[in-house]
Symmetry: C2
Subunit: 372 residues, 2 copies
Amino acid sequence: MNADVFLVGSGQTRFGEWWDKSLPALIEEAVSAAITDAGITALDIDAIVIGNMIGQQISGQGQLGAMTSALLPHRPPALRVEAACASGSVAVHTACALLESKRAETVLVVGAEKMTDAENTAIASALMGAGDSERDAPAGLTFPGIFGLIASRYMHDYGLTREELSLVSSRHHEHAKANPYAQFRSSVSPESVSSSAPVADPLRLLDCSPISDGAAAIILSRTRKSPLRLAASQLATDALSLAERPTITSFAATRDAFCRACEEAEIDRKEIAHLELHDCFSIAALINLEDMQFADPGQGIGIYRDGLQEMSVNLSGGLKGCGHPVGATGVKQIRDLAKQLKASKQRFGAAHNFGGAGATCCVHILEHACEP
Amino acid sequence: MNADVFLVGSGQTRFGEWWDKSLPALIEEAVSAAITDAGITALDIDAIVIGNMIGQQISGQGQLGAMTSALLPHRPPALRVEAACASGSVAVHTACALLESKRAETVLVVGAEKMTDAENTAIASALMGAGDSERDAPAGLTFPGIFGLIASRYMHDYGLTREELSLVSSRHHEHAKANPYAQFRSSVSPESVSSSAPVADPLRLLDCSPISDGAAAIILSRTRKSPLRLAASQLATDALSLAERPTITSFAATRDAFCRACEEAEIDRKEIAHLELHDCFSIAALINLEDMQFADPGQGIGIYRDGLQEMSVNLSGGLKGCGHPVGATGVKQIRDLAKQLKASKQRFGAAHNFGGAGATCCVHILEHACEP
């Protein structure tokens, strides 16, 4: 980081199906909660960045920067960023640049998505905007289809079984039980994952993060101190189309962003106590753990089978347990890390958020100034 | 500016109806032209910001940051920003923050829009995403409707006649004749504006900027010098809904952004030799000139009727003459200013770009180090 950037407050809606709340209403709820949590007034905010993917298509609402700014009495400068499911973390990254550039002292970062107001086909089509519209979409691929291909190849290459893969969602659901903001708060056995409805072979319904409504907000500041500071913010990209990648069982953008984030924070990956990673589909969790070198290629499942003493993975419940209002997830991950670090009195947490099948990846490392 | 940010190159497609070019193809053409113009290699670019409004809805293509990054061999970090018709200038603003923050040395900024592939109703609906989806859209308003209301009120308040208003588009078309990248390059008489088809009373077809395809790209750098540097980059917002504004014949975000930009550049508005302003509809040009205090309220038409010796207005042809591929306009304006300042050997030019009915406004001031 090129300046000290502190996390001074956060808030969110519970993720879920909010039939009675519009996209603007979700945003307002999260923003109010974050301002209250930070103990500041709205007037202390001098810039806003919002991450959102499908608000224009599904809610007919673009220009969300101006819309969010109008919630505050003094209408600070505001903009929206989009990088598919990484929109939230890319909003955080953009806010870091605004702070480091000295264009702002205190920035409100919002992630929000309203997804349950539309037919599933409309949502699947809108989400496919994260893929390659000229190569992959015309082939009939949707994102479950893309991750089904990835899972098939991974199982073929590494011998992962259907029963093993089911451990991933089951574990994330178990974690979500303790999170009052999670969409799903009940146990899901590995057997019920394996026997849930087929979606895109070999993936089943309970391998897939759900369609969700929700918003999260964090407040970052250069001038207001807190025990939590960002130690790294790194953004990386990869080809949109699966057809243009040398392999589909490894995500280059995850490798790049995570490696650079550890360098920026000047830490070894072993120092990370809590990891929130992007488990849009169960198979993605395994590959991401491998690309972050917490496991060898093909061995990610060991972390779910044998446990990992030194680091929690998706203690919030992840995308599977918490729900995945796409633009909100990357902001919510950082809020969750803050809660986890405070509770465990550990020093480092990492948030890994990607777009589509990893064409954009943004990794943040949060450092907690623990009591000596 | 919190660092020296130089404009080292630019490129664009001609704006127009490009039935044979997709959104990615338009982007690639502009990016290639800008890299060539800058005399750098693609590898010199270490970040990308792209401004686009409706690519997800109309071309099914989101995550345009990653898509654009994949055009370059080393896939630099990339993100998309959206602020409706101000998406291009907000991309430039974001790039400034990335440069000033020292996160990047040389940034490629792209603005692009593909609009002619869809029915007019689909485009009108997508563009209305720039308005307030809960207040103004349900009333049946489209953007021609919104600016029709604004024009009606303005004519009522200030006595502007239909014949006077027609001078605006006529003048912009006259300027566009000299611009090889303009969509329209023929004269349009004030009489033909007045007698063109009614669109939203009192606005006629030739009061409205067209639906266009196009892309523009500029390359900004901290480390590569050029005689052109950004002297200011300012972003401001206003309420989305007309119903939430104290007046509809003045744009608060234009006032705020322009006033702050002059302060940042430490210049008086009278030092601006060339102004590219957002004339999405003819009436907007007049109001923006007044909000930038180049004319008193209600007197903007004087600049078109009597001429203005000291400053050119939309010498490129503006949105009316050049076409308005929405995300591209804000980037193209800065490219045009650079060409104008080099040709005239003048020192300062300003680019004014807004979203929707001015809910987001971004103003850049470009300084040309003239030969002594």
